[in-house]
Amino acid sequence: MKLTAWLGLILLMIVGLIGVVTGLLPDGWLPYDIVADVSPSDAGAAPSAAHWLGTDHLGRDVAWRLVLATRAFVGPGLLACLLASVIGVGAGAVSGFLGGPIAALVRYLSTVTASIPRFVLVLLAIAINGNSTWLIGAVAGVAYSPAVAEAVFSRIDSLQRADFVLAARAHGLGPFRILGYHLLWVNCRRMVGRHALNLFGYLLLLETTLSYIGGFGVMEPQPSWGNMLAFEFGYRTDNIWGVWAPALAIWVTIFCCGLVSDALAERRRG
């Protein structure tokens, strides 16, 4: 992979690692208390030794909140990717390999899910419980799975009649092995990986947009890049980092998802 793709991957892994570590650590272990940090007298302070990126308009440290915000979307993002991959690959494989009425039913369900625009589906779902990013992640994963299913289905379908599959059958390899290894692992993994990265970036975008527009997603005082952005918008303080730090974080992360996804792309020859 090219250098830029490696850089992107490293950045993503750093973000992911921070997200997982801060998510798993019990609250008391971090030298920062989200709730206690409120100090209105410090509002909008510029970056300094005490506050590396300054403070927001309630006096809370921007840098720490930026770091802790990773746990808000890394977990749900991974959940979304998992759901989309499992459901998508499952549905695609079943309908591609088996055919018949089961396949038709699976494809029908997939089409119904695909026909409701993802954002609208998430919007309706979170009307039920807007406070849960895990729910947003789960719904986004389910809403994205038809795309994965379609991709896997068309790939498997086109490979059904390929020579190597006939050869494998002739050798007496069982259907699970053919499907699991030859078809799915060898041929589909890069594609599913690209979809997963795509979805991860999409979820971050979704959470940001929902926080800004409607106050859904991660609820205060838990930070997320989206709600940090929404919170500071429209406030005139001396600290531009209150708005730009989360915006840049979002921008860079999604861009890295794109870089890595591009590197995974297959360039078919001949």
Partner: protein
């Protein structure tokens, strides 16, 4: 393998055309310039457009403000907020105070030219009381037992019980009888597309961008200087002040505290302070442990630093009771709960709590608090986060929740599923807190009940002596403060902002446009 030839010249033209089109589009729109955008109209912004222009179905404040322009009531407020006749000319209260004979003006016409008669008044009252109408304003006429037209310009109103000052309650808007077909008014009636009133402005049209245009009514008895008023929906509060500065609007009904500084310094904008009768509070759920216990509630009262909560969000007066500081019913002798950790500690200990490593608990159970707030209440997020920080450092385990309006109403009003709730009550000039504090009050969702308070509230409602009423309500203030069903927080200073092109502006604190006759615009 033969590699494909480099792209032919046709490819580059395809490329160029694909990318040049959008840039041409952009440039064209940019230069589509220099069209004068300002008419003679006054444009004002609301957070949410009125759903329906019909005073019988008013649900939101934007609707109430718009109705103020299009419709009129029998009485209205003057600049001292006292009732003066509007559609009525004069009225006579019977000796036993159970009936009022109202003489109506004879020079009033509806926007469609039909003359205004007593039949309209009778119809409006009957329709609002009618079960089939499902009116949101039923309460406004519930006290009227019967309305009868004595002649074309005289109405006799009979009340359920004796009334001291019925004119104060005759502010509801009158609808034209001839525009409706049955005794009940339905939301689906064609009136919603062509509302007709007697007010200084008539409904012109709904616009495509969700704005509403009103034009001055030529035959109105009071000439208005502004010929057109447009209500614009600007749901993003971040833009409201900006649009005023850019002269895309002429009026903002309520300025956000964070925009005050910018607008104050701008020479094209005037700020008008006004006193709304609305105050913020932190309500306890008296159906739940441990909020049933007055000692615990009072302890929380001593641990909340109200001034520190107010400072980041704006300026205003902190309160000790359910009235605004300038209200005649406010009891200035009642001291506020002072911020005192020691007093709170002794109260909590008397209730059986012990502080264990900084955390208050009783019988092994830590004291947990859940604060629920309403997303659309401006700045409530800052207050709740700040409050959470204060209470957490005092030794409680505090969770917060922000809900949207429908969910909030369902959880708080219907299900009573909360510990503490941060919200705001708004009253008109009558400041009738009965619904909130009487044990049978319709809005008493915290389940507060105090017999003495009930008695005093009843006395205040039934008495005709204003001094007696004042004394009773001041006592209610004192009792409610002592009981602490809620911690009274503050009233925020409210400002309206208008362009300097609009002069002679007087603002009604509740309805905003009541005195629009006096406004002048260049």
């Amino acid at each position: 393998m033969v590699t494909a030839r480099r792209t032919s010249p046709r490819a580059s033209t395809v490329r160029r055309r694909a990318t040049s089109l959008p840039s041409i589009l952009l440039l064209a729109s940019l230069t589509l310039a220099a069209l004068p955008a300002q008419g003679q109209g006054l444009r004002y912004a609301e957070d949410q457009a009125p759903g329906i222009v019909n005073p019988v179905f008013t649900t939101t404040m934007p609707e109430a403000r718009l109705n103020e322009l299009v419709f009129e009531g029998l009485y209205t407020d003057n600049q001292n907020l006292a009732s003066v006749p509007c559609l009525a000319e004069s009225s006579e209260l019977s000796a036993d105070r159970t009936a009022l004979t109202v003489k109506l003006r004879s020079d009033v016409t509806w926007h469609d030219g039909t003359p205004f008669t007593s039949a309209d008044v009778v119809y409006t009252i009957e329709a609002m009381k009618n079960k089939g109408t499902l009116s949101t304003e039923k309460g406004r006429v519930a006290w009227i037992q019967k309305a009868e037209a004595l002649d074309d310009h005289t109405v006799l109103l009979q009340f359920e019980r004796a009334e001291a000052r019925p004119e104060d309650k005759l502010l509801f808007k009158v609808l034209p009888a001839h525009k409706f077909s049955g005794p009940a008014i339905k939301r689906t009636d064609p009136f919603r597309n062509e509302p007709v009133g007697t007010g200084p402005y008539r409904f012109a049209r709904y616009n495509d961008d969700n704005s509403i245009s009103l034009e001055s009514h030529a035959d109105h008895r009071d000439a208005v200087s502004i010929h057109e008023i447009v209500m614009r929906e600007v749901s993003d509060k971040n833009y409201q002040a900006k649009l005023l500065l850019y002269e895309s609007l002429e009026a903002l009904v309520r300025v956000l505290p964070r925009d005050l500084a910018v607008l104050q310094n701008n020479r094209k904008v005037d700020l008008y302070p006004y006193q709304t009768n609305s105050w913020w509070y932190l309500g306890f759920n008296l159906e739940r442990d441990p909020w049933r216990e007055p000692a615990v509630r009072e302890a929380i009262g001593h641990l909340v630093d109200v001034e520190a909560l107010l400072a980041p969000i704006g300026t205003g007066d902190t309160l000790t009771g359910p009235y605004v500081k300038s209200s005649p019913y406010y009891n200035h002798d009642v001291p506020s709960w002072d911020y005192s950790t020691s007093r709170a500690a002794s109260l909590l200990e008397s209730a059986g709590y012990a502080q264990d490593g900084g955390q208050w608990s009783r019988d092994g159970e830590p004291l947990t608090l859940n604060i629920t707030a309403h997303q659309t209440l401006e700045s409530s997020q800052e207050v709740v986060i700040n409050l959470q920080s204060q209470l957490q450092s005092a030794g409680f385990d505090v969770q917060v929740e922000f809900l949207d309006e429908a969910a909030w109403k369902a959880r708080i009003w219907r299900e009573h599923d909360y510990d503490l709730v941060l919200s705001q009550w708004t009253f008109d000039r009558n400041e009738d807190i009965r619904d909130q504090f009487h044990s049978e009050g319709a809005r008493n969702f915290c389940s507060y009940g105090n017999e003495q308070v009930d008695e005093l509230l009843n006395k205040a409602r039934d008495t005709t002596d204003p001094h007696e009423k004042k004394a009773a309500l001041r006592e209610v203030h004192r009792l409610v403060h002592a009981d602490t069903p809620m911690i009274f927080l503050w009233t925020l200073d409210s400002y309206a902002a208008l362009s300097t092109r609009v002069g002679s502006v007087v603002i009604h604190p509740f309805y905003f446009f009541t005195f629009v006759h006096d406004w002048r615009m260049e």
